[in-house]
C-alpha cells in the first residue's frame, strides 16, 4: 500500500509480505466500502421526496422570456398539478397589465377598526398556506400619539375592536416605485410591471431570501415548508403571477390581487373591509377615488426616509 513516494511518517508502512499487503488491502477496502454505504444511507431521507419539481418546471425559462406557446404549456402544467393536488380544475391564466394604469392603494386610518377581515380574506383569495401560516397583511395596533412601530402590537386579541386609545394600521406590500427587493434579487425573479405591481415568478425564485432581508416593510413571505391548503378552500380563479399555489422554497407576497385587479375588480382585502377604510384604483385616472384622496387628504407613507416611494398611502379623515 505504500506509495513509491515514501513520506516521513505520513506514509503507510511498506508491506513486508504478500499476506500483509492482502490484509491491508482488505481492511482499507472494508473501510472504503462501509464509508460509501454510509454516504448512500445518509441520503436516505430523500426517499420521502414525493412532489419534487417536474423536469418541465426545472427547465422552464424566466417569465419574461417565455413565448406564448411556452406560457401555455406552463399554464397547462399548473392546471395538471393543481388538479392532482387539490382535485379541482383551476382557471389559470396569464394576465397582462392594462395600458394607462398605475395602481395605488390608500388606507384610511380613521376608519380601520382592526378587525383583520382583510387578512383572512386575502388568505382565502390568494391560496396562502394555512399551515405553516402565511398572511400577507399584518395589522398593527398602535397607541395614539406615536408612529414608533416598536410600540405596535401585532398579536392583539381583545374581545372587541376598535379599542379606545389606539389606532390600527394594516401593512402589506407597498409595491414601491423604487423597490429594494427588486434591486437585490440575484436572478431577477421579482420585478415591477408597468401597472406598478411588483411580481414574483414562483418558478424562477431560488429562495435565497435576500429580498426578504431587503424589504423595509416586512411584506415578503417565504415558504419554509410545503404549503397546506384545505382542498375545499382553494380559490380556483388563478393567475400565473398571482395566486396559483406555490411550493416550498420560494417567496410570495401581496400582489394587489393581480387575478382580480387586472380584470378590473377590487382586491379581496378591500371588498371585505366593513368600514370602507381601504381604497384602491388607478392613479392615472384623475376621477378615481385614489386620485381624489391624494389630492384632498393629508396622506403619508411609512419610512419615507428609506426612499422606497411606496404606492401605499395612509391618511386620517378626522
Amino acid at each position: 500500500m505504500a506509495a513509491n513516494t515514501s513520506l516521513p511518517n505520513l506514509a503507510a508502512p511498506a508491506p513486508e509480505t504478500g499476506g500483509t499487503s492482502r490484509r491491508s488491502f482488505l481492511r482499507t477496502s472494508a473501510a472504503v466500502a462501509s464509508g460509501l454505504a454510509a454516504m448512500a444511507a445518509s441520503l436516505a431521507p430523500l426517499r420521502e421526496l414525493s412532489d419534487f419539481s417536474s423536469v418541465e418546471e426545472f427547465l422552464q425559462k424566466h417569465y419574461k422570456e417565455l413565448t406564448p406557446v411556452e406560457m401555455e404549456q406552463a399554464l397547462a402544467r399548473i392546471r395538471r398539478e393543481v388538479e392532482k393536488q387539490y382535485g379541482l380544475r383551476p382557471h389559470v391564466r396569464d394576465l397582462k397589465p392594462m395600458d394607462g394604469v398605475e395602481f395605488v392603494y390608500c388606507l384610511n386610518l380613521t376608519r380601520c377598526i382592526g378587525c383583520r377581515k382583510c387578512v383572512h380574506a386575502c388568505v382565502a383569495e390568494n391560496n396562502q398556506s394555512r399551515s405553516p401560516e402565511i398572511q400577507y397583511i399584518r395589522v398593527l395596533k398602535m397607541p395614539n400619539g406615536t408612529f414608533d412601530m416598536e410600540k405596535g402590537d401585532h398579536h392583539y386579541a381583545t374581545p372587541t375592536v376598535p379599542e379606545k386609545g389606539f389606532f390600527y394600521m394594516p401593512v402589506q406590500c407597498h409595491q414601491c416605485k423604487n423597490p429594494p427587493c427588486v434591486k437585490v434579487c440575484p436572478v431577477d425573479a421579482t420585478w415591477q410591471e408597468s401597472d406598478g405591481i411588483t411580481v414574483i415568478d414562483y418558478d424562477w425564485c431560488i429562495g435565497c431570501r435576500y429580498c426578504e432581508a431587503a424589504c423595509p416593510y416586512f411584506a415578503r413571505r417565504f415558504n419554509f415548508a410545503e404549503p397546506k391548503i384545505p382542498k375545499e378552500q382553494i380559490n380556483p380563479d388563478m393567475a400565473y403571477l398571482g395566486n396559483r399555489p406555490r411550493h416550498k422554497g420560494v417567496m410570495e407576497k401581496c400582489h394587489f390581487c393581480i387575478q382580480r385587479t387586472r380584470v378590473g375588480k377590487y382586491p379581496a382585502c378591500l371588498e371585505v373591509c366593513p368600514t370602507g377604510a381601504r381604497k384602491f384604483g388607478n392613479i392615472l385616472d384623475p376621477a378615481s377615488e385614489v386620485s381624489q384622496i391624494l389630492r384632498h387628504k393629508r396622506v403619508f407613507v411609512l419610512k419615507e426616509e428609506v426612499g422606497t416611494l411606496p404606492r401605499f398611502f395612509y391618511y386620517f379623515d378626522v
Partner: protein, 557 residues
Amino acid sequence: MTRAAKNFLSFLGRCARLACDGDWRYYAWTGVLFALCLVGLNAYAKQFVHGLATTGMTDQVAWGVYIANFTFLVGVAAAAVMLVIPVYVYKNEELHDLVIFGELLAIAAILMCLAFVMVDLGRPDRFWHLIPGIGKFNFPGSLLSWDVIVLNGYLALNIYVCAYLLYCRYAKQPPNKWLYLPPIFIGIVWAVSIHTVTAFLYVGLGGRPFWNSAIIGPRFLASAFTAGPALIILALQVVRRLAAHAQAGNGDAPAAPEPVAHEPTADDLLALGLALPAFAEVPRPVRQRLFVAAKVLEVPAGCTLLRQGAPGQHAYFVLKGRVSVNRTDSGRVRTVRTLGPGEQFGEISALNGTPRTATAVADEPSHVLRVPAGLLRELMQSLELGRVIRARMHDRLMISDRALLTLRHIVQVAMIINVFLLGNEVFKEFYTGNLHVSSATYLYFGLHGHTALVPWIWTAIACNLVALVLLLLPISTSLRWLDVACVLAIVGIWIEKGMGLVIPGFIPSPLGEIVEYSPTWNETLVCLGIWAFGLLVYTVLLRVAVPILQGRFTRAT
C-alpha cells in the same frame, strides 16, 4: 502541448493517490471528518425534503447560522492575502513558502462558503438560474450577483496559482514569473473585493439600519485580517509538527571516529567564498565573528555529524568533500541528498529549535564549517547570501518561528483596528439615543425582555479584548500564549461577525416585531458537516502540498 497536459494529469493522478495514503493519524482524522460530513449530509437531506422549516429561520429572521458562517468564512478566505502582501509587496522571504498555505486555506474556505450558500437556498436545484447566459443574472444591480462572481473568481484564481506553483515545484521547473505574479497581484485586490462585496450585501439594505452603515465594510476587513492569519498561525504549527515529526533514529550508527575541530582560518573562509560566491558580500564585522563563533570540523569518512531526532543548535556548510543526508523511516534508511562544497545542512532545525529531521554522514574525508544559529541569522541578513541560503532551505520547507511572529504582528495590528472600529460603532449607536438603535440595544442589552444574544456578544467582546491585550504584550511572542490569543480572536470574531452581525439586523423586524432566533439541531448538524468538509479539503490539500514543498514529492521520486 499535449505532453504538458499529460504530465499535469499524471501529476494530478499521483496527488490523488498520495491523498489516499497516510499513517494511522491521517486515516483517523480524515475518517472522523468524513463521518461528520455524512452526518451533515444526512441532516441536509432532511432539510431538502421538508424545506427550511427544519431550521430555526422565520420570515422575521430570514438568515441564520448558514449565512453567519458564510460571512465569517469569506473573511478567512480574504485573509489569505495577508500572507501575499508581505511576501510579494514587501519581499518578506520568511513567509515565502507559507503563501501557499494561505491560498490553500482560501480554497477550502471558499468551498465552505459556497456550501453554506447552497444549503441556505430554498430551491438549490435552481442554482443554474444564477449562471450568466443560461439563467438570468441581475448584474450589476444585485450585490449577490457580484458576490457570485467574486467568490468563484477568487476560487479559480487560488486554484490556478496553487496548482501552478505546486506543479512547478513538483516538476522542478522554475515558475514563469508572468504566469503567477500577475494573478497573485490581482489576487490581492480580489481578496479585498470579496470581503467588501460581502459587506455591501448588508450595507446596501436601507431598510435595516443596523447594517446600513459605512463602518461595516472596514470592520469586515479588520476582523477578517485578524481571524484569518490567526487561523493560519494555528494551521502552520500543526503542519510544522506533522511534517517535521521526527522519529528517534533507529539503529545507532557504529561508533565512528570523532571529528577534529579548529578555529576557521583565512584559508577556510577563502574556500567557503569560492564554494559560495554570495559569501563575498558578508560585511566585515560578521566575518570577524565567524572566526570567533564558528568552528571548522575535519571529518573522516563515515563520521556522523548529525543524528536524526537529536536536538541541534548548529548549521553546517560543507567546505570540502562530500556529506550525505539520510533519513530512517520505519527501519528503512534512505539517502535524501548528497552535499558538496558550499552547500548547507542542519540549518532548519538550528533556526527552529526542532529535532534533526535527518542524519548527516560524511561520505569521504571532509571539512565542514559549523555555525551557531545566531550567527547563521546574521549571515542570512546579507541580501544575496540570505537569498541563497533560503533558496536552499525552501527545498525543505521551513516554517520558522519568525514567520509565525510576523503573522502575529499582522493579527495584532488588525485586532487593534478591529477593536477601534467596534468602539466607533458602539459610540454611534448609543450616544444619540435615536430610534435606529434598537438592533444594537437588542444585541448588547436585550430588548423588551428578549436577551438571547446578550451573553454571546459579551463573550465575543471579552475574547477579543483579552486577545488584544495578549497580542500587545510581549508574552504572546511565546507560541503557547500566541495560540491562546489566536483561539480567542477566532472565537470572538466568529461570534461577533456571525451571529452578532446577521441576527440583530433582523431584530426587531421592520414592523417592530421581536422574534428571536435559535438554530435547530438539524441546522447545527448541517453546519458541522460543512465545517468538517472544509477541514477535510484543507487536510487533503496539505497532504499533497507539504511533501511537494519539502521536495520529497517530485516528478523524479
